[in-house]
Protein backbone atom coordinates (compact mmCIF):
# COMPACT_ATOMS: atom_id res chain seq x y z
CA UNK A 1 0.00 0.00 0.00
CA UNK A 2 1.32 3.53 -0.76
CA UNK A 3 2.77 5.55 2.07
CA UNK A 4 0.12 8.27 2.08
CA UNK A 5 -2.65 5.67 2.34
CA UNK A 6 -0.95 4.10 5.33
CA UNK A 7 -0.74 7.54 6.90
CA UNK A 8 -4.47 8.19 6.39
CA UNK A 9 -5.26 4.77 7.83
CA UNK A 10 -2.91 5.52 10.71
CA UNK A 11 -4.81 8.70 11.56
CA UNK A 12 -8.26 7.16 11.03
CA UNK A 13 -7.67 4.12 13.21
CA UNK A 14 -5.65 6.13 15.71
CA UNK A 15 -8.58 8.54 15.97
CA UNK A 16 -11.01 5.69 16.56
CA UNK A 17 -8.76 4.25 19.27
CA UNK A 18 -8.55 7.59 21.09
CA UNK A 19 -12.22 8.27 20.40
CA UNK A 20 -13.29 5.02 22.04
CA UNK A 21 -11.96 6.17 25.40
CA UNK A 22 -13.37 9.67 24.91
CA UNK A 23 -16.76 8.17 24.10
CA UNK A 24 -16.75 6.14 27.31
CA UNK A 25 -15.69 9.10 29.45
CA UNK A 26 -18.24 11.39 27.81
CA UNK A 27 -21.05 8.89 28.22
CA UNK A 28 -20.28 8.83 31.93
CA UNK A 29 -20.41 12.60 32.17
CA UNK A 30 -23.52 12.70 30.03
CA UNK A 31 -25.27 10.57 32.65
CA UNK A 32 -24.06 12.81 35.47
CA UNK A 33 -24.54 16.14 33.75
CA UNK A 34 -27.25 15.44 31.20
CA UNK A 35 -29.51 13.43 33.48
CA UNK A 36 -28.47 14.08 37.10
CA UNK A 37 -27.60 17.76 36.32
CA UNK A 38 -24.29 17.61 38.18
CA UNK A 39 -21.53 19.11 36.05
CA UNK A 40 -18.96 16.87 37.65
CA UNK A 41 -15.61 18.67 37.52
CA UNK A 42 -14.21 15.72 39.49
CA UNK A 43 -15.14 13.29 36.69
CA UNK A 44 -11.52 13.03 35.60
CA UNK A 45 -10.48 12.20 39.16
CA UNK A 46 -12.50 8.99 38.97
CA UNK A 47 -10.55 8.20 35.79
CA UNK A 48 -7.33 8.84 37.69
CA UNK A 49 -8.48 6.65 40.61
CA UNK A 50 -9.36 3.84 38.18
CA UNK A 51 -5.97 4.12 36.52
CA UNK A 52 -3.99 4.14 39.77
CA UNK A 53 -5.99 1.31 41.33
CA UNK A 54 -5.27 -0.79 38.25
CA UNK A 55 -1.61 0.19 38.36
CA UNK A 56 -1.24 -0.75 42.03
CA UNK A 57 -3.15 -4.03 41.69
CA UNK A 58 -1.04 -5.02 38.68
CA UNK A 59 2.41 -4.01 39.93
CA UNK A 60 1.98 -5.03 43.58
CA UNK A 61 -0.41 -7.97 43.47
CA UNK A 62 0.01 -9.03 39.85
CA UNK A 63 -3.69 -8.82 39.11
CA UNK A 64 -4.51 -8.69 35.39
CA UNK A 65 -5.91 -5.24 34.42
CA UNK A 66 -8.75 -6.92 32.51
CA UNK A 67 -9.76 -8.62 35.77
CA UNK A 68 -9.58 -5.25 37.56
CA UNK A 69 -12.03 -4.00 34.97
CA UNK A 70 -14.61 -6.44 36.32
CA UNK A 71 -13.79 -5.87 40.00
CA UNK A 72 -13.72 -2.08 40.01
CA UNK A 73 -17.28 -1.59 38.73
CA UNK A 74 -19.41 -2.44 41.79
CA UNK A 75 -17.10 -0.59 44.20
CA UNK A 76 -17.08 2.65 42.23
CA UNK A 77 -20.82 2.37 41.62
CA UNK A 78 -21.42 2.20 45.37
CA UNK A 79 -19.20 5.23 45.95
CA UNK A 80 -20.93 7.28 43.24
CA UNK A 81 -24.39 6.20 44.39
CA UNK A 82 -23.71 7.13 48.01
CA UNK A 83 -22.07 10.41 47.02
CA UNK A 84 -25.19 11.43 45.16
CA UNK A 85 -27.50 10.19 47.87
CA UNK A 86 -25.74 12.25 50.55
CA UNK A 87 -24.10 15.29 49.00
CA UNK A 88 -25.96 16.09 45.81
CA UNK A 89 -29.42 15.19 47.08
CA UNK A 90 -28.89 17.63 49.93
CA UNK A 91 -27.77 20.33 47.52
CA UNK A 92 -30.76 19.61 45.27
CA UNK A 93 -33.23 19.88 48.13
CA UNK A 94 -31.68 23.12 49.40
CA UNK A 95 -31.47 24.89 46.05
CA UNK A 96 -34.40 27.17 45.24
CA UNK A 97 -34.22 26.40 41.52
CA UNK A 98 -32.45 24.35 38.85
CA UNK A 99 -29.87 26.99 37.96
CA UNK A 100 -28.74 27.43 41.55
CA UNK A 101 -28.47 23.66 41.93
CA UNK A 102 -26.36 23.35 38.76
CA UNK A 103 -23.99 26.08 39.92
CA UNK A 104 -23.75 24.87 43.53
CA UNK A 105 -23.23 21.23 42.62
CA UNK A 106 -20.54 22.20 40.13
CA UNK A 107 -18.67 24.13 42.82
CA UNK A 108 -19.06 21.21 45.22
CA UNK A 109 -17.54 18.81 42.67
CA UNK A 110 -14.70 21.27 42.31
CA UNK A 111 -14.06 20.80 46.01
CA UNK A 112 -14.30 17.06 45.50
CA UNK A 113 -11.62 17.33 42.81
CA UNK A 114 -9.22 18.92 45.28
CA UNK A 115 -9.95 16.35 47.95
CA UNK A 116 -9.47 13.33 45.65
CA UNK A 117 -6.48 14.73 43.79
CA UNK A 118 -4.55 15.70 46.90
CA UNK A 119 -5.33 12.47 48.75
CA UNK A 120 -4.05 10.61 45.68
CA UNK A 121 -1.01 12.88 45.64
CA UNK A 122 -0.30 12.04 49.27
CA UNK A 123 -0.72 8.32 48.57
CA UNK A 124 0.90 7.83 45.17
CA UNK A 125 3.22 10.83 44.85
CA UNK A 126 3.60 13.20 41.93
CA UNK A 127 5.66 11.02 39.58
CA UNK A 128 4.64 9.55 36.24
CA UNK A 129 3.72 5.88 36.62
CA UNK A 130 3.49 3.25 33.90
CA UNK A 131 3.44 -0.51 33.45
CA UNK A 132 3.70 -2.68 30.38
CA UNK A 133 0.72 -4.81 29.45
CA UNK A 134 -0.07 -6.29 26.03
CA UNK A 135 2.30 -3.80 24.42
CA UNK A 136 3.15 -5.91 21.32
CA UNK A 137 2.31 -4.31 17.98
CA UNK A 138 -0.44 -5.45 15.66
CA UNK A 139 -0.18 -4.66 11.95
CA UNK A 140 -3.33 -3.36 10.23
CA UNK A 141 -2.63 -2.88 6.51
CA UNK A 142 0.81 -1.51 7.24
CA UNK A 143 -0.14 0.77 10.14
CA UNK A 144 1.03 -0.63 13.47
CA UNK A 145 -0.93 -0.34 16.71
CA UNK A 146 -0.21 -1.65 20.20
CA UNK A 147 -2.43 -4.57 21.17
CA UNK A 148 -3.54 -2.83 24.38
CA UNK A 149 -4.97 0.08 22.38
CA UNK A 150 -7.05 -2.27 20.27
CA UNK A 151 -8.22 -4.16 23.37
CA UNK A 152 -9.21 -0.91 25.05
CA UNK A 153 -11.16 0.16 21.96
CA UNK A 154 -12.94 -3.20 21.98
CA UNK A 155 -13.87 -2.83 25.63
CA UNK A 156 -14.95 0.81 25.20
CA UNK A 157 -17.32 -0.17 22.38
CA UNK A 158 -18.47 -3.24 24.30
CA UNK A 159 -19.27 -1.23 27.44
CA UNK A 160 -21.00 1.42 25.35
CA UNK A 161 -23.19 -1.17 23.60
CA UNK A 162 -23.99 -3.00 26.82
CA UNK A 163 -25.06 0.25 28.37
CA UNK A 164 -27.19 1.15 25.36
CA UNK A 165 -29.02 -2.17 25.61
CA UNK A 166 -29.51 -1.53 29.33
CA UNK A 167 -31.05 1.85 28.53
CA UNK A 168 -33.38 0.53 25.85
CA UNK A 169 -34.38 -2.84 27.29
CA UNK A 170 -34.70 -2.50 31.07
CA UNK A 171 -37.15 -0.69 33.34
CA UNK A 172 -34.33 1.24 35.00
CA UNK A 173 -33.10 2.24 31.54
CA UNK A 174 -36.53 3.55 30.69
CA UNK A 175 -36.64 5.50 33.96
CA UNK A 176 -33.26 7.05 33.16
CA UNK A 177 -34.43 8.09 29.72
CA UNK A 178 -37.56 9.60 31.24
CA UNK A 179 -35.52 11.49 33.82
CA UNK A 180 -33.22 12.76 31.07
CA UNK A 181 -36.20 14.29 29.29
CA UNK A 182 -37.86 15.85 32.32
CA UNK A 183 -37.02 14.88 35.91
CA UNK A 184 -40.10 16.62 37.38
CA UNK A 185 -42.61 14.87 35.16
CA UNK A 186 -40.79 11.56 35.47
CA UNK A 187 -41.14 11.92 39.23
CA UNK A 188 -44.87 12.56 38.87
CA UNK A 189 -45.22 9.43 36.72
CA UNK A 190 -44.03 7.27 39.59
CA UNK A 191 -40.31 7.13 38.87
CA UNK A 192 -38.30 7.17 42.12
CA UNK A 193 -36.35 10.17 40.92
CA UNK A 194 -33.82 10.34 43.75
CA UNK A 195 -32.84 6.73 43.16
CA UNK A 196 -32.66 7.11 39.39
CA UNK A 197 -30.45 10.19 39.60
CA UNK A 198 -28.17 8.45 42.12
CA UNK A 199 -27.95 5.41 39.82
CA UNK A 200 -27.02 7.72 36.93
CA UNK A 201 -24.31 9.37 38.97
CA UNK A 202 -22.99 5.99 40.09
CA UNK A 203 -22.97 4.61 36.53
CA UNK A 204 -21.20 7.75 35.34
CA UNK A 205 -18.48 7.24 37.94
CA UNK A 206 -18.16 3.57 36.90
CA UNK A 207 -17.61 4.54 33.27
CA UNK A 208 -14.93 7.02 34.30
CA UNK A 209 -13.15 4.42 36.42
CA UNK A 210 -13.32 1.80 33.65
CA UNK A 211 -11.95 4.33 31.19
CA UNK A 212 -9.14 4.95 33.68
CA UNK A 213 -8.34 1.24 33.81
CA UNK A 214 -8.23 1.06 30.01
CA UNK A 215 -6.13 4.23 29.80
CA UNK A 216 -3.56 2.99 32.29
CA UNK A 217 -2.76 0.06 29.96
CA UNK A 218 -1.56 2.38 27.22
CA UNK A 219 -0.26 5.67 28.64
CA UNK A 220 1.83 6.78 31.64
CA UNK A 221 -0.39 8.12 34.42
CA UNK A 222 -0.08 10.89 37.02
CA UNK A 223 -2.34 11.99 39.86
CA UNK A 224 -3.01 15.27 38.03
CA UNK A 225 -4.14 13.61 34.78
CA UNK A 226 -7.87 13.98 35.53
CA UNK A 227 -8.53 17.60 34.57
CA UNK A 228 -7.75 17.23 30.87
CA UNK A 229 -10.13 14.30 30.58
CA UNK A 230 -12.84 16.20 32.45
CA UNK A 231 -12.52 19.01 29.94
CA UNK A 232 -12.58 16.60 27.01
CA UNK A 233 -15.68 14.98 28.47
CA UNK A 234 -17.42 18.35 28.88
CA UNK A 235 -16.57 19.27 25.29
CA UNK A 236 -17.90 15.97 23.96
CA UNK A 237 -21.10 16.20 26.00
CA UNK A 238 -21.79 19.69 24.63
CA UNK A 239 -20.81 18.47 21.15
CA UNK A 240 -23.17 15.53 21.33
CA UNK A 241 -26.02 17.46 22.93
CA UNK A 242 -26.95 17.72 26.57
CA UNK A 243 -28.75 14.59 27.77
CA UNK A 244 -28.24 12.69 24.52
CA UNK A 245 -26.30 9.56 25.47
CA UNK A 246 -25.85 8.22 21.90
CA UNK A 247 -24.81 11.77 20.97
CA UNK A 248 -21.95 11.76 23.44
CA UNK A 249 -20.89 8.27 22.28
CA UNK A 250 -20.64 9.43 18.66
CA UNK A 251 -19.24 12.83 19.72
CA UNK A 252 -16.39 11.03 21.48
CA UNK A 253 -15.31 9.40 18.25
CA UNK A 254 -15.62 12.67 16.33
CA UNK A 255 -13.40 14.48 18.83
CA UNK A 256 -10.96 11.57 18.88
CA UNK A 257 -10.48 11.77 15.13
CA UNK A 258 -10.19 15.58 15.12
CA UNK A 259 -7.66 15.36 17.94
CA UNK A 260 -5.56 12.80 16.10
CA UNK A 261 -5.51 14.92 12.95
CA UNK A 262 -4.43 18.06 14.84
CA UNK A 263 -1.94 16.00 16.79
CA UNK A 264 -0.47 14.82 13.51
CA UNK A 265 -0.08 18.39 12.18
CA UNK A 266 0.99 20.21 15.37
CA UNK A 267 1.04 18.19 18.63
CA UNK A 268 1.27 21.15 21.01
CA UNK A 269 -1.97 22.61 19.65
CA UNK A 270 -4.31 19.64 20.16
CA UNK A 271 -5.72 20.90 23.49
CA UNK A 272 -6.10 24.41 22.03
CA UNK A 273 -7.91 22.92 19.03
CA UNK A 274 -10.36 21.17 21.35
CA UNK A 275 -11.14 24.42 23.12
CA UNK A 276 -11.47 26.25 19.86
CA UNK A 277 -13.98 23.74 18.47
CA UNK A 278 -15.79 23.78 21.76
CA UNK A 279 -16.13 27.56 21.98
CA UNK A 280 -17.15 27.79 18.35
CA UNK A 281 -19.78 25.14 18.99
CA UNK A 282 -21.10 26.95 22.07
CA UNK A 283 -21.52 30.12 20.06
CA UNK A 284 -23.02 28.57 16.94
CA UNK A 285 -25.04 25.69 18.27
CA UNK A 286 -25.10 25.46 22.08
CA UNK A 287 -27.57 22.58 21.92
CA UNK A 288 -24.97 20.31 20.34
CA UNK A 289 -25.01 18.37 17.09
CA UNK A 290 -27.57 15.84 18.26
CA UNK A 291 -29.44 18.09 20.70
CA UNK A 292 -33.14 18.80 20.31
Amino acid sequence: MPDSMVRVLDIAIGGLLTGGIYALIAMGLSLQYGVARVLNIAHGEFIMLGAFTTFTLYTVFGINPLLTLAMIGPVVFAVGFLLHRTMFTRLRVMAPNQDVYTANSMLATFGLLFIIQNLAGLGWGANLRAYSFMASGINIFGAIFAANRLVSLGFAIGIGLAFYIFLVRTRMGKAIRAAAQDPETAGLMGVNINRVLAVCFGLGAVMAALAGTLLSMRIPITTTMGMNYTIIAIIVVVLGGLGSIPGSFIGGFILGIIGTIVNYIEPSLSMAAYYFIFMLLLLVRPKGIFGK
Binding site: M87, L91, L107, I116, I234, L282, P286
Partner: protein
Amino acid sequence: MDMSFFKSRRLWVLWLALIILVGLATLPLYGSLYMTILMTAILMYIILTVSWVIFSGPTGYLSLASAAFFGIGIYTSAILLPNTGSAFPVLVVVIIAGALSFVVAVLVGALTLRLRGIYFAIFTFGLVELVKQVLIFFEINVTGTRGRFIMLVDTHVIYFIMLGIFVVLLLTAYFIRNSKFGLALRSIGENEEAAAHSGVNVTMVKVITFGISAVFMGAAGATIAMRWTYIDPYIAFNSLFSFLPVLMAIFGGLGQFYGPVIGAAIFAYLEETLLTKFPYYYMLIFGCVLVGTMLFMPFGFTGLIQKGWRRLIGGQHADA
Protein backbone atom coordinates in the same frame (compact mmCIF):
# COMPACT_ATOMS: atom_id res chain seq x y z
CA MET B 1 -37.59 51.70 62.98
CA ASP B 2 -37.06 55.40 62.18
CA MET B 3 -34.72 56.89 59.61
CA SER B 4 -32.26 58.34 62.09
CA PHE B 5 -31.13 54.81 62.89
CA PHE B 6 -30.15 54.26 59.27
CA LYS B 7 -28.45 57.63 59.08
CA SER B 8 -26.41 57.05 62.21
CA ARG B 9 -25.62 53.51 61.06
CA ARG B 10 -24.41 54.70 57.70
CA LEU B 11 -22.25 57.32 59.36
CA TRP B 12 -20.86 54.70 61.70
CA VAL B 13 -19.95 52.43 58.78
CA LEU B 14 -18.29 55.34 57.00
CA TRP B 15 -16.16 56.13 60.06
CA LEU B 16 -15.18 52.49 60.43
CA ALA B 17 -14.20 52.32 56.76
CA LEU B 18 -12.10 55.46 57.12
CA ILE B 19 -10.31 54.14 60.20
CA ILE B 20 -9.55 50.84 58.45
CA LEU B 21 -8.33 52.72 55.38
CA VAL B 22 -6.00 54.93 57.43
CA GLY B 23 -4.75 51.83 59.22
CA LEU B 24 -4.01 50.16 55.88
CA ALA B 25 -2.40 53.23 54.36
CA THR B 26 0.03 53.65 57.26
CA LEU B 27 0.77 49.92 57.54
CA PRO B 28 4.38 50.19 56.25
CA LEU B 29 5.11 52.65 59.12
CA TYR B 30 4.35 50.23 61.94
CA GLY B 31 4.10 46.78 60.34
CA SER B 32 6.97 44.48 59.40
CA LEU B 33 7.94 43.86 55.78
CA TYR B 34 6.27 40.46 56.03
CA MET B 35 3.04 42.15 57.14
CA THR B 36 3.13 44.37 54.06
CA ILE B 37 3.69 41.40 51.74
CA LEU B 38 0.92 39.43 53.42
CA MET B 39 -1.48 42.36 53.18
CA THR B 40 -0.64 42.78 49.48
CA ALA B 41 -1.69 39.18 48.85
CA ILE B 42 -4.85 39.56 50.94
CA LEU B 43 -5.78 42.75 49.11
CA MET B 44 -5.22 40.99 45.78
CA TYR B 45 -7.68 38.23 46.69
CA ILE B 46 -10.19 40.78 47.97
CA ILE B 47 -9.92 42.68 44.69
CA LEU B 48 -10.42 39.50 42.64
CA THR B 49 -13.40 38.47 44.76
CA VAL B 50 -15.16 41.82 44.95
CA SER B 51 -14.71 42.48 41.24
CA TRP B 52 -16.12 39.01 40.53
CA VAL B 53 -19.10 39.86 42.74
CA ILE B 54 -19.73 43.16 40.91
CA PHE B 55 -20.77 41.21 37.84
CA SER B 56 -21.73 37.70 38.94
CA GLY B 57 -23.41 38.68 42.22
CA PRO B 58 -26.41 40.62 40.94
CA THR B 59 -26.75 39.00 37.50
CA GLY B 60 -26.31 35.37 38.56
CA TYR B 61 -24.05 34.66 35.58
CA LEU B 62 -21.35 32.36 36.95
CA SER B 63 -18.17 33.74 35.38
CA LEU B 64 -15.06 31.57 35.47
CA ALA B 65 -13.05 33.99 33.36
CA SER B 66 -11.36 35.79 36.28
CA ALA B 67 -8.10 33.94 35.63
CA ALA B 68 -8.11 35.13 32.01
CA PHE B 69 -8.27 38.83 32.94
CA PHE B 70 -5.89 38.33 35.85
CA GLY B 71 -3.48 36.61 33.46
CA ILE B 72 -3.79 39.37 30.87
CA GLY B 73 -2.71 41.80 33.59
CA ILE B 74 0.23 39.59 34.55
CA TYR B 75 1.40 39.32 30.95
CA THR B 76 1.03 43.06 30.39
CA SER B 77 3.45 43.58 33.27
CA ALA B 78 5.77 40.90 31.93
CA ILE B 79 5.95 42.46 28.48
CA LEU B 80 6.10 46.15 29.48
CA LEU B 81 8.32 45.70 32.54
CA PRO B 82 11.08 43.29 31.52
CA ASN B 83 13.92 42.85 34.00
CA THR B 84 16.36 44.24 31.45
CA GLY B 85 16.29 47.41 29.39
CA SER B 86 13.96 50.38 29.52
CA ALA B 87 10.65 50.23 31.29
CA PHE B 88 7.38 52.11 31.45
CA PRO B 89 6.34 53.84 34.67
CA VAL B 90 4.81 51.20 36.94
CA LEU B 91 1.49 52.98 37.39
CA VAL B 92 1.04 53.39 33.62
CA VAL B 93 1.53 49.65 33.16
CA VAL B 94 -1.18 48.92 35.72
CA ILE B 95 -3.60 51.27 33.94
CA ILE B 96 -2.76 49.74 30.54
CA ALA B 97 -3.38 46.28 31.99
CA GLY B 98 -6.77 47.36 33.29
CA ALA B 99 -7.70 48.92 29.95
CA LEU B 100 -6.59 45.84 28.04
CA SER B 101 -8.63 43.55 30.29
CA PHE B 102 -11.62 45.84 29.80
CA VAL B 103 -11.36 45.62 26.01
CA VAL B 104 -11.00 41.83 26.04
CA ALA B 105 -13.88 41.48 28.50
CA VAL B 106 -16.17 43.65 26.40
CA LEU B 107 -15.33 41.66 23.26
CA VAL B 108 -15.81 38.32 25.02
CA GLY B 109 -18.92 39.58 26.77
CA ALA B 110 -20.52 40.79 23.55
CA LEU B 111 -19.91 37.34 22.07
CA THR B 112 -20.91 35.15 24.98
CA LEU B 113 -23.33 36.89 27.26
CA ARG B 114 -26.25 35.51 25.28
CA LEU B 115 -25.31 32.06 26.59
CA ARG B 116 -27.50 31.19 29.51
CA GLY B 117 -26.74 29.45 32.77
CA ILE B 118 -24.05 26.83 32.92
CA TYR B 119 -23.01 27.30 29.26
CA PHE B 120 -21.63 30.71 30.15
CA ALA B 121 -19.65 29.18 33.01
CA ILE B 122 -18.21 26.47 30.77
CA PHE B 123 -17.38 28.94 28.03
CA THR B 124 -15.55 31.32 30.35
CA PHE B 125 -13.66 28.40 31.86
CA GLY B 126 -12.68 27.27 28.35
CA LEU B 127 -11.51 30.80 27.56
CA VAL B 128 -8.82 30.66 30.25
CA GLU B 129 -7.54 27.34 28.98
CA LEU B 130 -7.64 28.42 25.34
CA VAL B 131 -5.59 31.54 26.04
CA LYS B 132 -3.14 29.48 28.10
CA GLN B 133 -2.68 26.82 25.39
CA VAL B 134 -2.26 29.37 22.59
CA LEU B 135 0.27 31.30 24.69
CA ILE B 136 2.26 28.13 25.39
CA PHE B 137 2.27 27.33 21.68
CA PHE B 138 3.32 30.90 20.89
CA GLU B 139 6.14 30.88 23.43
CA ILE B 140 7.51 27.54 22.27
CA ASN B 141 7.23 28.04 18.51
CA VAL B 142 7.44 31.79 17.88
CA THR B 143 9.41 33.50 20.61
CA GLY B 144 11.24 30.35 21.66
CA THR B 145 11.08 31.27 25.34
CA ARG B 146 9.69 29.59 28.38
CA GLY B 147 8.52 32.11 30.96
CA ARG B 148 9.54 35.70 31.56
CA PHE B 149 11.27 37.71 34.26
CA ILE B 150 9.79 40.96 35.54
CA MET B 151 11.53 44.03 36.85
CA LEU B 152 12.01 44.22 40.59
CA VAL B 153 9.69 46.81 42.12
CA ASP B 154 9.80 48.10 45.68
CA THR B 155 7.50 46.11 48.01
CA HIS B 156 5.90 49.27 49.38
CA VAL B 157 5.14 50.63 45.93
CA ILE B 158 3.40 47.35 45.06
CA TYR B 159 1.45 47.53 48.31
CA PHE B 160 0.27 51.08 47.74
CA ILE B 161 -0.80 50.37 44.16
CA MET B 162 -2.78 47.35 45.36
CA LEU B 163 -4.35 49.48 48.09
CA GLY B 164 -5.21 52.14 45.51
CA ILE B 165 -6.91 49.58 43.25
CA PHE B 166 -8.78 48.27 46.29
CA VAL B 167 -10.12 51.71 47.24
CA VAL B 168 -11.19 52.56 43.69
CA LEU B 169 -12.84 49.15 43.42
CA LEU B 170 -14.81 49.58 46.65
CA LEU B 171 -16.02 53.01 45.55
CA THR B 172 -17.00 51.62 42.14
CA ALA B 173 -18.80 48.67 43.70
CA TYR B 174 -20.62 51.01 46.08
CA PHE B 175 -21.75 53.35 43.34
CA ILE B 176 -22.85 50.52 41.05
CA ARG B 177 -24.84 48.99 43.87
CA ASN B 178 -26.58 52.24 44.78
CA SER B 179 -27.31 53.54 41.30
CA LYS B 180 -29.89 53.00 38.60
CA PHE B 181 -27.27 50.93 36.81
CA GLY B 182 -27.08 48.54 39.77
CA LEU B 183 -30.86 48.31 39.86
CA ALA B 184 -30.83 47.37 36.17
CA LEU B 185 -28.20 44.71 36.90
CA ARG B 186 -30.28 43.20 39.71
CA SER B 187 -33.38 43.20 37.53
CA ILE B 188 -31.42 41.16 34.96
CA GLY B 189 -30.60 38.68 37.69
CA GLU B 190 -34.23 38.46 38.78
CA ASN B 191 -35.71 38.06 35.32
CA GLU B 192 -33.83 39.00 32.21
CA GLU B 193 -36.82 39.13 29.88
CA ALA B 194 -38.85 41.27 32.25
CA ALA B 195 -35.86 43.61 32.56
CA ALA B 196 -35.62 43.92 28.79
CA HIS B 197 -39.34 44.67 28.55
CA SER B 198 -39.01 47.36 31.22
CA GLY B 199 -36.61 49.24 29.00
CA VAL B 200 -33.27 48.02 30.34
CA ASN B 201 -30.67 47.65 27.58
CA VAL B 202 -29.84 44.17 28.84
CA THR B 203 -26.85 43.38 26.62
CA MET B 204 -25.24 46.76 27.15
CA VAL B 205 -25.57 46.66 30.96
CA LYS B 206 -24.17 43.12 31.14
CA VAL B 207 -21.24 43.77 28.80
CA ILE B 208 -20.24 47.05 30.48
CA THR B 209 -20.35 45.52 33.96
CA PHE B 210 -18.39 42.49 32.80
CA GLY B 211 -15.81 44.91 31.43
CA ILE B 212 -15.67 46.98 34.63
CA SER B 213 -15.10 43.88 36.75
CA ALA B 214 -12.30 42.82 34.40
CA VAL B 215 -10.49 46.17 34.76
CA PHE B 216 -9.73 45.50 38.41
CA MET B 217 -8.73 41.88 37.84
CA GLY B 218 -6.29 42.97 35.13
CA ALA B 219 -4.87 45.76 37.27
CA ALA B 220 -4.44 43.40 40.25
CA GLY B 221 -2.68 40.86 37.98
CA ALA B 222 -0.28 43.49 36.65
CA THR B 223 0.55 44.60 40.19
CA ILE B 224 1.08 41.18 41.78
CA ALA B 225 3.25 40.14 38.80
CA MET B 226 5.83 42.67 39.96
CA ARG B 227 6.13 40.78 43.21
CA TRP B 228 6.26 37.33 41.60
CA THR B 229 9.12 38.46 39.29
CA TYR B 230 8.99 35.21 37.29
CA ILE B 231 5.94 34.05 35.35
CA ASP B 232 4.99 31.57 32.62
CA PRO B 233 1.61 30.70 31.05
CA TYR B 234 0.89 28.04 33.71
CA ILE B 235 1.39 30.55 36.53
CA ALA B 236 -0.38 33.46 34.83
CA PHE B 237 -3.42 31.56 33.55
CA ASN B 238 -3.96 29.18 36.46
CA SER B 239 -7.67 28.29 36.51
CA LEU B 240 -7.49 28.27 40.31
CA PHE B 241 -7.77 32.06 40.07
CA SER B 242 -11.15 31.59 38.43
CA PHE B 243 -12.46 29.36 41.18
CA LEU B 244 -10.94 31.06 44.23
CA PRO B 245 -12.96 34.30 43.88
CA VAL B 246 -16.16 32.26 43.58
CA LEU B 247 -15.34 30.23 46.65
CA MET B 248 -14.23 33.25 48.67
CA ALA B 249 -17.39 35.17 47.75
CA ILE B 250 -19.68 32.27 48.62
CA PHE B 251 -17.74 31.51 51.79
CA GLY B 252 -18.09 35.12 52.86
CA GLY B 253 -21.72 35.36 51.81
CA LEU B 254 -23.16 37.17 48.81
CA GLY B 255 -26.07 38.70 50.72
CA GLN B 256 -24.03 41.51 52.23
CA PHE B 257 -21.69 44.04 50.72
CA TYR B 258 -18.89 43.20 53.16
CA GLY B 259 -19.40 39.41 52.95
CA PRO B 260 -17.03 38.78 50.02
CA VAL B 261 -14.43 41.07 51.58
CA ILE B 262 -14.44 39.06 54.80
CA GLY B 263 -14.45 35.73 52.92
CA ALA B 264 -11.50 36.77 50.78
CA ALA B 265 -9.54 38.09 53.76
CA ILE B 266 -9.97 34.86 55.75
CA PHE B 267 -9.08 32.63 52.80
CA ALA B 268 -6.14 34.67 51.63
CA TYR B 269 -4.70 34.65 55.16
CA LEU B 270 -5.16 30.87 55.42
CA GLU B 271 -3.54 30.37 52.02
CA GLU B 272 -0.54 32.55 52.75
CA THR B 273 0.12 30.84 56.08
CA LEU B 274 -0.71 27.23 55.15
CA LEU B 275 0.48 26.93 51.55
CA THR B 276 4.18 27.15 52.29
CA LYS B 277 4.05 24.69 55.18
CA PHE B 278 1.64 22.01 53.98
CA PRO B 279 0.97 22.32 50.23
CA TYR B 280 -0.92 19.00 49.82
CA TYR B 281 -2.88 19.52 53.00
CA TYR B 282 -3.69 23.10 52.09
CA MET B 283 -5.37 22.02 48.87
CA LEU B 284 -7.07 19.17 50.71
CA ILE B 285 -8.42 21.57 53.35
CA PHE B 286 -9.41 23.92 50.56
CA GLY B 287 -11.48 21.15 48.97
CA CYS B 288 -13.12 20.18 52.25
CA VAL B 289 -14.01 23.80 53.04
CA LEU B 290 -15.47 24.24 49.56
CA VAL B 291 -17.67 21.15 49.89
CA GLY B 292 -18.59 22.06 53.47
CA THR B 293 -19.49 25.61 52.49
CA MET B 294 -21.74 24.41 49.68
CA LEU B 295 -23.45 21.86 51.92
CA PHE B 296 -23.81 23.64 55.23
CA MET B 297 -23.38 27.39 54.72
CA PRO B 298 -25.12 28.26 51.44
CA PHE B 299 -25.43 31.86 52.64
CA GLY B 300 -21.81 32.00 53.68
CA PHE B 301 -20.00 33.13 56.74
CA THR B 302 -21.88 36.42 57.15
CA GLY B 303 -25.16 34.57 56.61
CA LEU B 304 -24.21 32.19 59.40
CA ILE B 305 -23.34 35.07 61.73
CA GLN B 306 -26.58 36.89 60.94
CA LYS B 307 -28.52 33.70 61.64
CA GLY B 308 -26.74 33.31 64.97
CA TRP B 309 -27.29 36.98 65.79
CA ARG B 310 -30.98 36.71 64.95
CA ARG B 311 -31.32 33.68 67.17
CA LEU B 312 -29.52 35.54 69.94
CA ILE B 313 -31.79 38.57 69.91
CA GLY B 314 -34.91 36.49 69.50
CA GLY B 315 -36.02 36.99 65.92
CA GLN B 316 -36.50 40.74 66.23
CA HIS B 317 -35.04 41.32 62.77
CA ALA B 318 -36.40 38.15 61.26
CA ASP B 319 -36.40 39.43 57.68
CA ALA B 320 -33.34 41.64 57.83
